[in-house]
């Protein structure tokens, strides 16, 4: 089968042009409503539960989960599904432990919550290190992914793709702030869900709308092993470690946590996670159909011929079942997906730099509305430039592990301190600070000594640390450090303020 992938595709460019025009239109509309820091960071807290549910899903369903997981399932069958499931199970945890307390205790960032009854400066600095590390690795993975994908899909040069993503995303965030970013996420989530549903429907129409007939065909063509766990999961400890990082990391991603400030109250935050969990679960169920559909209809050989990693499985499937126009539509959706995720990441990075570091650390929480707004926008420009530079710097490098790394840091650096600050009255400033720094540093160090870096990238003969996913070591370590340091040197004043925190956690500020 010859494919139109990689050639400039009229429908792809038309659909993508339409998305850009629509999203910039939203940005112009949003910029008129963005007058204060509250609008810029939190969309004036006026987002509804259903809108926020879709926006959360939009922020979370990255190109990695759409193209990457579909490709993984197409090439290795069941093993790819382990990721689909792992990416969903963090959402109930967000619901049970994080969403409502976060909304009631904070204003713009998760550090607001950790710092509620602790000392501002040390907490904000430590939280910023963890948050920025997560955002940086996530951004690199997205930017490099954007460059490669757009080159494959549209035939554009890598650098041009990275610059386009950086500049358009800058426009959304700089002028439209959280209002524009939220609506871009909503439009993208609807497009991605609609596109994936249509694609899955077209696949299933060839199998009498019976998914089991599709799986049976996959098993008949490639052997029953495609429906069973296989080579991807060789080390049980590594599998559990990855599972922990995916599950708890979701509840520590700064750009996800930030969304809970855009709704008017805790009850709305709760309902929005319900919608997000439903939508994201549905989307990951679709990846079952898309992956096996690509395996059967396109064929593994044709998929790896275009891209050895399998990332083009879903676009190739779209072409096979819907022709070049549908390929164009799916390609445009993939591009829009990357743009939206990068915008969400940049906005949360800007909030960390300006709200946590500038306003609360450097200016001691005494900054005028005008100054806060200005600093947030400067931080956005700085982050956009950094993300373009990082995208170009990491060209041609293997960055697939960086999303996993971002989740591992989020689970080890952000999650333990956040949960303990909400739950445990004896947590002290020193304990939280030590935990966040330990989480970041230990995760980075263990990734560096893992087989991923030592064997795959540096081509050394052996790796000092045996696991590819450090979560099983670093997450408990961060909890132990937080608890140990807090118990070693209790701070009575901080413990006494817990009663006040508890009241605000349940009842809010009003």
């Amino acid at each position: 089968m010859t494919s139109a992938i990689g050639e400039p595709n009229v429908t792809a460019i038309a659909f993508f042009g339409l998305f850009i025009v629509l999203s910039l239109g939203i940005t112009v509309w949003a910029s008129r409503r963005t007058r204060t820091a509250d609008h810029f960071y939190a969309a004036g807290r006026s987002v509804t539960a259903f809108q926020n549910g879709l926006a959360l899903a939009g922020d979370y369903m990255s190109a990695a989960s759409f193209l990457g997981i579909a490709g993984l399932v197409a090439l290795s069958g069941f093993d790819g599904l382990i990721y689909s499931i792992g990416f969903l199970v963090g959402w109930p945890i967000v619901m049970f432990l994080i969403a409502e307390p976060l909304r009631n205790l904070g204003r713009y960032t998760f550090a607001d919550v950790v710092a509620t009854r602790l000392r501002q400066t040390p907490i904000r600095i430590a939280a910023a290190i963890g948050a920025l590390a997560v955002i940086a690795f996530y951004l690199i993975a997205q930017m490099v992914g954007a460059g490669n994908l757009i080159r494959l899909l549209f035939g554009l040069p890598y650098e041009a793709a990275v610059v386009i993503v950086g500049v358009v995303m800058l426009a959304y965030v700089l002028f439209g702030g959280m209002i524009a970013t939220t609506w871009v996420q909503i439009v993208k989530a609807v497009l991605l869900l609609g596109g994936a549903t249509l694609l899955a429907g077209l696949v299933l129409s060839r199998f009498n709308f019976n998914p089991l007939a599709l799986f049976a065909q996959a098993s008949a063509t490639y052997g029953p092993s495609v429906l069973a766990p296989g080579r991807q999961v060789t080390d049980p400890i590594d599998a559990i470690s990855l599972g922990l990082a995916l599950m708890l990391g979701t509840a520590g991603l700064p750009h996800i946590l930030m969304r809970f400030y855009t709704v008017p109250d805790a009850k709305t935050a709760r309902t929005s996670v319900g919608y997000a969990t439903a939508v994201i679960g549905f989307f990951y169920l679709l990846t079952f159909i898309l992956g096996f559909g690509a395996m059967v209809i396109v064929g593994r050989e044709a998929i790896t011929k275009v891209d050895a990693g399998g990332n083009m499985a879903a676009p190739l499937l779209a072409e096979a079942v819907g022709g070049t126009p549908f390929l164009g539509f799916i390609a445009a959706v993939a591009f829009a997906t990357i743009l939206a995720v990068v915008a969400g990441l940049t906005l949360s990075g800007a909030a960390t730099l300006s709200h946590d570091l500038w306003v609360n650390v450097i200016r001691g929480a005494h900054a005028s509305e005008r100054e806060q707004f200005l600093v947030a926008r400067v931080a956005t420009i700085v982050l956009a430039i950094i993300s373009i530079v990082l995208g170009i710097t990491f060209k041609g490098q293997n960055v697939a592990y960086m999303v996993g790394l971002a989740f591992a840091i989020a689970a080890s650096a952000n999650f333990p301190a956040l949960v303990l600050s909400i739950f445990w009255k004896r947590l002290t400033t020193a304990g939280a600070q030590a935990s966040m720094i330990t989480g970041t540093v230990s995760t980075l160090a263990l990734i560096y000594f893992s087989p991923t870096i030592q064997l795959d990238i540096l081509k050394h003969a052996e790796a000092w640390f045996p696991l590819r996913n450090p979560g099983i070591v670093t997450i408990p370590l961060s909890f132990v450090v937080a608890i140990g340091v807090s118990l070693l040197k209790p701070v009575e004043a901080e413990e006494r303020r817990f009663a006040e925190l508890e009241r605000q956690l349940h009842l809010g500020v009003d």
Partner: protein, 93 residues
């Protein structure tokens, strides 16, 4: 406030109930998910066995993990919308 101590103990009770629910549901989700991962890691032959034509036991359990995430989330929302919200209204008034 007329009876600050009484209100404090009420808040404590609401808080305790909220965290009991959170911990119960979190633990259930973790048991379900890590149960699945442990089977993937330690009992591959079982998961590879066909349940019905075209569906292995592993895939069925995978879908059930997703369904479990939905059900637990729904249980929490139901509980919070009725019991937790009512307790909060009681505390506010």
């Amino acid at each position: 406030m007329l009876w600050p101590h009484m209100s404090d103990s009420n808040l404590k009770a609401v808080s305790a109930a909220r965290w009991r629910m959170a911990i119960l549901l979190t633990t259930t989700m973790m048991v379900v998910y890590f149960g699945f991962i442990l089977l993937v890691a330690f009992n591959k032959p079982l998961l590879g066995r066909p349940f019905v034509g075209g569906l292995s036991i592993g895939m069925l359990l995978g879908v059930l993990v997703i369904v479990a995430a939905w059900v637990l989330t729904w249980v929490y929302v139901r509980w919070a919308n009725t019991h937790y919200d009512a307790s909060l209204r009681g505390l506010r008034s």
